[in-house]
């Protein structure tokens, strides 16, 4: 009979009408991301040895890092990700031997201006090489500064 298919389609849509909702009201409700989710990058500065493997692994030259030599050790002074060019492929995270660079599951990286998109993970001065006992303190302070000085509006 002609029209049977149409009736069947209507039955399906009517049945689904009283189904449970499939979506969430996004800014107010958020769904949990999976542990492997490729979200915003996180850098553990204590673990990072400024080897630059991540920067070399990147297909798009997203990662720019600057380092200084302090007491025969490389000291990371600047770690900037040009996130506007990032493909989120995860090759940098995979390249990291020290487990310092990681993905978090923060999804909202949107900004109002293009210049704010750039992700500054570390921006700190190198400590004085001669004063060994005080070397720790400025580095720690700078780290908290760097955390505060990340791209503005990171919470939303």
């Amino acid at each position: 009979m002609f029209g049977q298919g149409l009736i069947k389609g209507l039955q399906i849509t009517w049945g689904r009408m009283f189904d449970k909702k499939q979506t969430v009201k996004y800014p107010f409700e958020k769904i949990e991301m999976f542990p492997r989710y490729h979200g915003r990058f996180e850098l553990d500065v204590d673990k990072c040895i400024a080897c630059g493997l991540c920067a070399n692994a990147c297909p798009n030259k997203v990662i720019q890092l600057e380092k200084e030599k302090v007491d025969k050790k490389q000291f990371l002074t600047k770690y900037i990700m040009r996130i506007e060019y990032c493909l989120f492929c995860g090759l940098c995270v995979e390249a990291c031997n020290k487990d310092a660079l990681k993905f978090s599951n923060i999804i909202d990286m949107n900004q109002y201006r293009r210049s704010w998109v750039r992700l500054t993970l570390v921006d700190r001065p190198a400590p004085e090489p001669t004063e060994t006992p005080e070397e720790e303190t400025p580095a720690k302070e700078a780290k908290s500064e760097a955390a505060a000085g990340q791209a503005p509006g990171k919470e939303g």
Binding site: I12, F88, L91
Partner: protein
Amino acid sequence: MKTETYTLNLGPQHPSTHGVFRIILELDGETVVKATPVPGYLHRGIEKLAEARTYTQVIPYTDRMDYMAAMLMNWGYVAAVEKLMDIEVPERAEYVRVIVGELSRIASHMIATGAYGGDIGALTAFTYTFRDREYVLDLLEMVSGSRMTFSYFRIGGVAADLPEEFFPAVRKFLGELPAMCDEYDGLITGNEIFQARTKQVGIITPEMGINYSLSGPTLRGSGVNYDLRKVRPYGIYDRFDFDVPLGQNGDCFDRFRIRIDEMRQCKRIIEQALDQIPEGPIMAKVPKVIKPPVGDAYAEVESSKGVYGCYVVSDGSPKPYRVHFRRPSYINLGYLGKLCEGWKIADVIAILGSIDIVLGEVDC
């Protein structure tokens, strides 16, 4: 009475061209006299970009071709490099590839099904397939961390093993898949208006399909039994038992219908793979810096759109000398101009939708 033909520009900004694609139609009234497809609006030069990247760094770019089934795009490229370097992929990695590849195929066919419904005017179907596609993407996100451009394959294996929570989740999804397909069948396939729009429209004869080198569901809709997974099994596809759905008339309806049937077959393949998957490593022993010997290699896989091939030439350096991709959408599109001749404007939309192109792949 003397009449004149006129030209109508379909696209590049038109929702039913699935992206930025333009067809210049020469019309006599509503009938198409000549159709000239104009691709290239999404050209990014991926093949050229690949020449300035190391072998591993090319993988994220292959994602951006057919972003509906990015896993399969990864597969073709890594298969070519593995062939070039003579790398044997571990068993488990092969199974993982089949599982995620077939899930990707389901995701791609869901888009094709829903978007085709949307093209014809059944927009409800679009929302249904996209709802279900999210479940597939959840699974793939669990595995790879991304929802669209996965970059999950590596030369010699895959990036990470399947997580524990993946197995119950994929079984649950596969259990629901037949009901989903039945729903699409009830909503679209059985709909008389849809059938009137698509049956006996845009017929591709088997001879013409072969002559124009079509592949994938576009060719199988004409009844040509050509599926790479069967005729030239790559990877471990010879171990699975599945059917190749075939059409009879080669019209838009057949091309559409077999995609839903293929999803059901994907379910069979994944279930067998889940049962058979062995323990073991997921990466072959590959040097840190990949430097294939001088030479070239061509590998092809059956992507969701057809035969996807990748040709890699190495000059012994860590960067490929030349990479070429045989993109099935682009080659399937070659017949579009001829196929549209003699049909009405509304049929052009139906024909274009039934070929299931994705512009990222057409323009590369």
